[in-house]
Amino acid sequence: MLKLIPLFPLVGFTINGLWYALFQSRPGAKKASAGVTGALASLAILASFVVSWMVFRSLQAMPEGSRVIEESLFSWIQVGDLNVPMTLRVDVLSTLFTMVISGVGFLIHVYSMGYMSHDETPGKFFTYLNLFCFAMLMLVMGANLPILFLGWEGVGLCSYLLIGYWYADDEKASAGKKAFIVNRVGDLGFLIGMFLIFSTFHTVDFAELRQIFSSAGEGALPAGVSVATLTAIGIFLFVGCMGKSAQVPLYVWLPDAMAGPTPVSALIHAATMVTSGIYLVARLNFIYSLSPTASLVVASVGAFTAFLAATIAITQTDIKKVLAYSTVSQLGYMFLACGVGGYVAGVFHVITHAFFKALLFLGAGSVIHGMHEEQDILKMGGLRSKMPQTFLVFLIAWLAICGLPPFSGFFSKDEILWLSFASLKGSKVLWAIGAATAIMTAFYMSRLFFLTFLGKPRTSEAEHAHESPWVMTGPLMVLAVLSALGGFMGVPAVISEALGAHDLNWLGHWLNPVVPHHVAVIEGASHSLEWALMGMSVAGALVGIFLAKGLYFDLTRAERLKARFSALHRVLTNKWYVDELYQAVLVRPIVAFSRALWRGFDAGLIDGIVNGFGRVSLWTGQAVRTIQTGSLQTYAIMALLGLLMTVGYFIYGLA
């Protein structure tokens, strides 16, 4: 049954792909409508969701601790001591991901039927979208690292294709290429990590790896394995995560990726693909938990990324760019959680973020659709009355990402902040960075929300904006419900106790022991401390919201502030000049050096020597020219004669 989950989108991809390539792609050919191809693609992914749900139910029916379903398809690569079977496996961790991917994926497919209705090539769009779902599902269902990598690069390919979907625009095509190449840098790290795992443990299967660690005993190293090796494995794999999940220093592709159609930003660049890195770390938590150094790297990079991206988000005026940097920032949170040992909290935030960030992007898409492709929030305003449904769902998503109770983001973000303070691997510094980021998050999201929906329309487009059709707002409603209530799957223990319940943290129990629920905390991590921090984070969110309210209800104040800190503002709008730095330090020198190699070494030195030889034998060339009659038969006969003469010489001349 497992194979049906990725099979449905693969079939959808094949049908839509062949149909498009053979019958719709010719210039001037009649294109299928977004309704028809989209319905086909949506059905495929809906079927996948239904099976995912059935698999989840059957896992629930199994006894705790042995909830896993496995299905071997065929042997993929078997050479020497390397054995990579094509095996799918769904356990308590991957079942959550399959449901999020196919569920949120389905909603976004449906939404796209409306969003892409005016597009020229919807057939191509849905082909790619289904292929993406297939690869993403393989990523989370693969039983070993190479299959995960197959999905990992597969989603990267789809990301490349969909970012550059409107390929005739060079900038968009470049953004796609940039995404692929930056990800490849990370993938080299992934490959090296995989090689290290194989040469250390002689297996690449997740279950076998986990078995090796669990049979060594709680917190003990497997025989013959050093902490240094685990640290190296952890860090190299994390380099892969830096690429895929857009962390410093490899995050630069994600903001550019907004060149793709907005549903793509929602599905790939917010809800699913970019969280693959967290999946990987959570999947291999037994490695990270034994290496304090690797964990520290993960936590620090996560915290720093969260902070840096939030600072940039504050000054962006493109609605999608704000959300893109916000995504980078939130992914940083998830790694912060994993780095301090809160793998469950990391996964929890993956899920809630998938709900509210997909909603934010799709809501933004609805706004862009209604504004006739305008993306500048400074040109919006007052959309509340023009697009009431979009406004309502966006309101919920906004409250969720700001972290106000009882919306979903509150629970997951609060869990992360608490653990970054209280975990043995946490620290006050990590918490402070996380908390400061939380304030900034509330600030920039409020800024976006106020500038877009409140106040008065600032342009005639905003004046005449229209609400999107039901096929778009419908999925928004569903996501709004999930964003509002999704947090209740992981209610923290303190609140459960305060409510007099036993323990309402369903998620933590469900994931245990594949992803350990228990996190070792510092002494003095009391309930009162947790309440206090919780209060502080809510207060921080409110501070951010009110700051934004003070500034952006009256834009002249924002202008004055901008003028006062013009240098800082310039640095932030230019994204700390990171792209420029990479261009100057890496891209240009490598290209220049390659040119020098080609002209100097290849064409200059080596060919110089060869041509020197050539000049000596120039006479040969001239001699050859005289017998070049141009008649093929002559040449062929001469070649044959030559061969016969050689043979003859050996037979009769020497024998």
Partner: protein, 521 residues
């Protein structure tokens, strides 16, 4: 049929040449239509013969199969000795698989002296197949040299404007290498007389020679260098690669496809069949040197490919990079690396062959290969775009395509030998994506600015038929590589046992699947 059964390899090898000679008698019609179809049918029959070979091949045996033996120059121990193992089998199939594609692909490219063109292609096929099936070192040399002739003329007559320079460069480079090999070969044949009392050029006889192998310039060392030079030029290994870009740019499409698809593989095959098993101690001595050269080739080829203004030259330099992987895998001397290396040879034949065909298809339409002349082609040639994309992905080793399996195994094999080298060579994974995707973007994406590109016709049915088998193979080889490895494993194990007994015995599965005796046919 009984004769065919016992002479399958001879039939396979000489059928194309015989068919080509018969074809010379065809009447010269307008456009050479008859010659084209004649050649296509001939190559298809050859493929069918190789298919029989494939179905009858015993996968679990490391022995040479389908042996044929006839005396030729008994006084020198030279004989007509044929046989295939699980390694040459695949290279033969690669050759016979590519030839019909090449011939069909050339239907529209050649307008002058059509008959001669196809005659040479079929003669070339016999030369290549001969080199793969022979088990006599001297006969190998004869086929090795014989191949040069048709290739020289294919470039020299149907090539671009600098074809004379390119074909001479190709000829001289290859000649220099192979002459030293011939001298070394005579030494070996003579040595067999000294050690065993009679001359022999049988490869399996020569394997038994005891040669001093201590030090860089021992007997083994010097002989190894003589062979390795010939093979390294053919591969081509950095820094002996500069003939390749010129040859490719000047060669007609069919020539480029055969050159990249099969001829370069003879370099790798030469290492496997001769240089490695003949001089195992020298291989160990020079292992590090060649691993480093292979690594340099991967990175260097990718960097130089990146800045090429001509698509075909870019693909040529990408070959340098991809064949660097082959050398790296071979010299890693472990099962994973060597298997990956052989697989990479097949991959390269498929994907680079397809790339040259694709480049040829737009060249036929626009008569230029300058990247800057293109842009936005996807809009007018959607089917071409899809095909080009799939092959590009195969070339950058996306998992699910053939390229990934080869590169992954080679890097893993290298990792087992020396992690640092694997990490450096692994940057080829990044730069490979850079040069291919950058080129792809400049050719296929962006606005359709050049008015000359606006009327480009998409692929026609013949071109689709040419590309489809390659596209299918790129995916099949990525998803089901075990179909290939299962027929290769026993031979790779036997090879490693001969070359690197320590490694072979350290890996139980390879030591047990084959007996250590070499077959004498």
């Amino acid at each position: 049929m009984a004769w065919l059964d016992s002479h399958l390899l001879s039939s396979l090898t000489f059928f194309p040449l015989a068919w080509a000679v018969l074809g010379l008698a065809l009447p010269s019609d307008q456009g050479g239509k008859a010659a084209k179809w004649w050649a296509l049918v001939g190559s298809l029959v050859t493929f069918w013969l190789s298919w029989i070979l494939y179905t009858r091949f015993q996968a679990d045996s490391a022995q040479f199969q389908f042996g044929e033996l006839a005396p030729w120059i008994p006084a020198l121990g030279i004989s007509y000795r044929l046989g295939v193992d699980g390694i040459s089998l695949w290279l033969i199939l690669l050759t016979t698989f590519l030839m019909p594609i090449v011939i069909l692909g050339a239907f529209s490219a050649v307008e002058e002296r059509v008959k001669g063109f196809f005659f040479l292609l079929l003669a070339l096929e016999t030369g290549m197949l001969g080199a793969f099936v022979t088990l006599d070192a001297f006969l190998f040399y004869v086929f090795w040299e014989f191949m040069l002739i048709p290739m020289y003329f294919l470039i020299g007559i149907w090539g671009g404007k600098d074809r004379i320079y390119a074909s001479m460069k190709f000829f001289i480079y290859t000649m220099v290498g192979s002459l030293l090999m011939l001298v070394a070969l005579f030494y070996l044949m003579n040595q067999h007389q000294v050690q065993f009392g009679e001359y022999s050029a049988a490869i399996t006889d020569l394997y038994r020679l005891k040669l001093d192998g201590a030090g860089w310039f021992s007997v083994q060392g010097v002989l190894f260098l003589a062979f390795a030079l010939a093979f390294a030029i053919k591969v081509p290994l950095f820094p002996l690669h500069t003939w390749l870009p010129d040859a490719h740019v000047q060669a007609p499409t069919a020539g480029s496809v055969v050159l990249a698809g099969v001829l370069l593989k003879l370099g790798g095959y030469g290492f496997i069949r001769l240089a490695f098993p003949l001089f195992p101690q020298a291989v160990a001595q020079y292992q590090q040197v060649f691993m480093i050269l292979g690594t340099i080739a991967i990175v260097y080829g990718a960097w130089v490919a990146m800045v090429q203004p001509d698509i075909k030259k870019l693909v040529a330099y990408s070959s340098v990079s991809h064949m660097g992987y082959v050398v790296l895998g071979l010299f890693s001397l472990n099962t994973v690396g060597v298997s990956g290396s052989i697989y990479q040879m097949l991959n390269h034949g498929i994907s680079t062959g397809a790339l040259f065909l694709l480049v040829g298809m737009i060249y036929e339409r626009r008569h230029t290969r300058e990247i800057s002349e293109f842009g936005g082609i996807t809009k007018v040639m959607p089917l071409f775009a899809v095909s080009f994309l799939i092959i590009t992905l195969s070339s950058i080793a996306l998992p699910g395509t053939n390229g990934f399996v080869g590169e992954f195994l080679i890097l893993l094999g290298t990792w087992k030998y020396q992690p640092v080298l694997a990490a450096v060579a692994g940057t080829g994974v990044i730069f490979g994506a850079v040069y291919m995707l950058w080129m792809f973007q400049r050719v296929m994406f962006g606005p359709l600015k050049n008015p000359e590109n606006e009327k480009l016709q998409d692929l026609n049915l013949r071109e689709l038929v040419v590309l489809l088998p390659l596209l299918v193979m790129a995916i099949v080889m990525g998803v089901r590589p075990n179909l290939f490895f299962s027929k290769m494993d026993a031979s790779v194990a036997a090879f490693l046992e001969r070359v690197n007994p320590q490694v072979a015995s350290a890996q139980p599965e390879s030591a047990t699947t084959s007996d250590s005796e070499t077959s004498d046919i």
